[in-house]
Subunit: 326 residues, 2 copies
Amino acid sequence: MNPVIVIHGGAGAISRAAMSPDKELEYHAALRAILLSGQAVLAQGGSALDAVTTAVVGLEDCPLFNAGRGAVFTSDGTHELDAAIMDGATLRAGAIANVRRVRNPVLLARKVMEESRHVFFVGEGAERFASDHDIALVEPGYFSTPERYAQLLRVQRDNPNAAVLDHDGQAIVAGQQAAPAHPLDMDKKFGTVGAVALDARGNLAAATSTGGITNKQVGRVGDAPVIGAGTYAGNETCAVSATGTGEMYIRMVAAYDIAARMRYGGATLAQAAHAVMFESLASIGGKGGLIAVDGQGNIAMPFNTEGMYRGFARPGQDPVVEIYRA
Amino acid sequence: MNPVIVIHGGAGAISRAAMSPDKELEYHAALRAILLSGQAVLAQGGSALDAVTTAVVGLEDCPLFNAGRGAVFTSDGTHELDAAIMDGATLRAGAIANVRRVRNPVLLARKVMEESRHVFFVGEGAERFASDHDIALVEPGYFSTPERYAQLLRVQRDNPNAAVLDHDGQAIVAGQQAAPAHPLDMDKKFGTVGAVALDARGNLAAATSTGGITNKQVGRVGDAPVIGAGTYAGNETCAVSATGTGEMYIRMVAAYDIAARMRYGGATLAQAAHAVMFESLASIGGKGGLIAVDGQGNIAMPFNTEGMYRGFARPGQDPVVEIYRA
């Protein structure tokens, strides 16, 4: 076995030109620290499930990324958070969407997976499940940062009908699912965070968490909590976590499509991930990236945007962090 | 082209012994009338999308089935409705979950598909989208029927921690996702309705709508609105609508898995549908059924319960309605 953890912190039009050296160092340091925390779990013989949970909690708690603290604002100026987790060994899954007060959505998704008769909860029902199961709730203001609020105001000023995928200026305009409008020149990132891992016992796991997209309509759910779209893990094939224009990932069942290409079509992880990113998703204008790992510890981190916050770590080796195209 | 519409009204432990002749006639007549309405759309050159919409509206409006009027009750004594629709020609989709006041959830799902920049809405945000787009809202009492309320009281009396999949006594017990408890001997049906169709232009479509499962926890979302799990359509492969223990259909990405087995594995529709029903879903204790149609007009209606309300109609031929195993 070749244990490994891979993480992403969103993809988008992240250009060297627009990034200050200080900001870049800040992202590097955050991603590295989070990779080290997941790596430590694996190095101590911990499970892939624990490694991805630890990493996604770290990403949620870091205000640089659009999940948990630092989540983007809806058109109402609120936050609505989505997350999912899946255990490749048992194909058990937990998903939650549209929660407003759950400090770490990935911990609620995991609790749903482990302690509920159900797989997927949304809204107040999800929060009720959270309070019944000792999941930390916070006031909605906890998630807010001045940077995200400024982002909302800019988007609403420039194009009130557009929702902007955090980390990118690509706007989705009403009635144009397949053909996003011209990129805006600000707030250029797609924001979702995620992690996939292989542990020493050969088990795979995936987890994804997001605040969605700036100025999204209230009640909108993206691909992150949709098992098979933004999150999937099966020991037979691979574990996948996606980030990007969630609507297209849902329509292409993107995460599971990678597994299916491996399972039925004999593709390698690299071939399958490449095909889904650059053929399937591209065919309907999908933008973003994804991370994936297979049962042998091979990894893939394709994206079709200018950059993706990403990295991986294997026990005993220094973590690798990357932002731009190679 | 060989246009056809296929519908289901739920699967479960529907035994001849437990069904009165009058009730059986009532189900037959309802399914036949709904098939005729979808058949008429196809016979007039209408689209698969219009045919499945018409059929699912009919199923929602009929109190015999667990969708729209006649939806089951949550543990709170409320109704929460989910639906999805997908256009195989464009891979566009619309899905909604956890709505309480939308008379015909499938019409809202279709409106989301056609007029929103988003694909998936839940809760109050979905209802706000509905009222902004002239979708009929009703008082929650509209959905209630005395039969469903009696069903809730029986389930809560006999096993307060169990959620019962309408049309079946199979209970899902907390913490036992993979191993449902013993069947109850009442309220034996899984309740979801759905339709799939092929039209004269070779386009496929699928739609699914449900009230979920009796005594479900508030906020629970099943497979119906999860694209790839309970609903999927792609012209290259097939259109699928599922009914059953939704949690297992989500974990197995059941609907898209049929398409993937055809697309990458070279399976026929019959082979793929059979494998998903009797191998994938069965491997984790999944119970229920599904309907599917491919681009040549071949159909499949597998189920692993005692019965499934189902039928199909081809223009110019008398509709076929079935309830029990052959």
